[in-house]
Symmetry: C2
Subunit: 366 residues, 2 copies
Amino acid sequence: MTRTGVLELSLQQVSVPEPAADEVVVRVQAAPINPSDLGLLLGPVDPTNLTSSGSGDDVVIRGQVPEAILQAFAARIDQSMPVGNEGAGSVIKTGTSDAARALKGRLVAMIGGGMYATHRVIKASDCLPLPDNVTAAQGASCFVNPLTALGMVETMRREGHKGLVHTAAASNLGQMLNRICVKDGIPLVNIVRNAAQEALLRKLGAAHVIDSSAPGFMNDLSQAVHDTRATIAFDAIGGGTLASRILTAMEAAINRSAKVYSRYGSDTHKQVYIYGNLDLGQTVLARGIGMAWGIGGWLLFPFLQRIGATDAARLRQRVLDELTTTFASHYTKTVSLRGALAPENIRIYGKRATGEKYLIDPSKSD
Amino acid sequence: MTRTGVLELSLQQVSVPEPAADEVVVRVQAAPINPSDLGLLLGPVDPTNLTSSGSGDDVVIRGQVPEAILQAFAARIDQSMPVGNEGAGSVIKTGTSDAARALKGRLVAMIGGGMYATHRVIKASDCLPLPDNVTAAQGASCFVNPLTALGMVETMRREGHKGLVHTAAASNLGQMLNRICVKDGIPLVNIVRNAAQEALLRKLGAAHVIDSSAPGFMNDLSQAVHDTRATIAFDAIGGGTLASRILTAMEAAINRSAKVYSRYGSDTHKQVYIYGNLDLGQTVLARGIGMAWGIGGWLLFPFLQRIGATDAARLRQRVLDELTTTFASHYTKTVSLRGALAPENIRIYGKRATGEKYLIDPSKSD
């Protein structure tokens, strides 16, 4: 990003360094474009308002960061930042350590950034060898979405809630969460943004699906929250009034069974965690939800650190065990690195729409 | 409150029951009108728009709850609700238990509601005998404000913060908190709403006082938060953008020393607890504060339950030890019960303005 807020996207030709003793070189074959990647790749730039110059591998895409929020990106100015949280590929070279050598020739999943690249040099300990029956595309998304979905359920349990609410619930992540909850018998309220998404989730066996664009939304939400006793929500949207409406519905559901008036509202704690930023606008909270409520940010990696290595490993093992069932990802399109920079593709994956999920295959040439 | 949202305030003649074995009868001599009492007494009723009928002890004051929020008060309809969280007075009669008899003739502070009354029958265990050198007026406010102020400091420590921010900081509670922080060496940023309040707090030895009505507010706040390393705030206002601006200032202060850009913002948790409702409007949160933040309600009694009996007793003992110094309250006017229902008084104390604190002396006749 330049000092005047011009964000530049380009491909860089770099040489692949020799792996250190505990490292391996992976030929990347699949890396998803997750919403969390878009935060770094595009940030607040409007994906429908980009310019393109150069051609082939020398193409440069430019977009403008709105001046009003430029200050928040001060630390990004003049920095070249590789993108891609996670991916999968084949180990083509290893360092001399036993752990590195054990991965020779294996298909591995990786986490750690910089995955939108033909090759990635990475610590052996940051690789997860994939089972034999799994492809790179299937293994490419085995960290961010699966662990986030499991993290939601884990957070619900640790903080003493009995059921949960999820927004943007028809997303890849939402479908995973729904599968986990169906399998584990956890009451889940899925909030979606249109009737097609509602139909999709119902087909997947979801018991409670509420369309926020429907006229009876607040009543339906209040009823579903009452039926499930959900008092914690994970919200991918962030801006607007949805988080507030969820808290209001929870408070209303709890107060249905209240015997006496309490000026402080119910004493049951109601929590919304914002884990995504589909709407970058202001979050607006109406009052009248009592005093026992909280809202805050939720992020996967600090969560994994908080729960500690043993519990994090338990979650990772479950992902591997159910990678092609509970944690299967679906992609609408696979593109090359060059294709990922094509304005017509950025326009689609950049709008962060549910059901438009891209996979990059850096081994692919256009 | 009636079904149509008319809130009625009146005095009721009731007979004082005989105390049970573990109870005492207290002749109430002082009970403060705290913001938390106003929540019950007036709720959302406009204190400048009241009607009055009858006279003397038979006066009835009426005000209207806005229809848009009437639903939130459903449980209050047709309920007669005594008011007054805390107070002090003399024990004039006791039950037969040893604990009750030990209080005979003593001046006690009480918590438990219904203190706006000439007499209060109460459990001996809900009374705190006051030291000999303390008057009823001095002892009347020894629960809510002192324990709330101590609760803020205790919460700060328990949640791992190094300094704190307080809003509406020139209030009785704010002055107490300032005295605690000066005494205990805790970095405190006081946010006030005008220059007179700023001068008042500076006179009381506050190091950081920021006037939210001044043009350089955000810069000054950011600097003060940087200097104090405050990452937790207690907000009495609730509505509007102040909580959001505090989080923004905290994030900016932390990022001043950030070496590299993080798309998720700083990993230092920033917290705002809303403990009051001076502004009943929407709470509006701007984004750009990273993901490590929280905002939520904070209430004294659940807090005391959470920390447990031993720690709660430690806080109460400190209040008694410093009742006429650190925890001294100041009142602008003392009124009788009848005076508390005079529209010209309600208009003043009902506006919840800093520096307008009323004390009710039910033993006083007009």
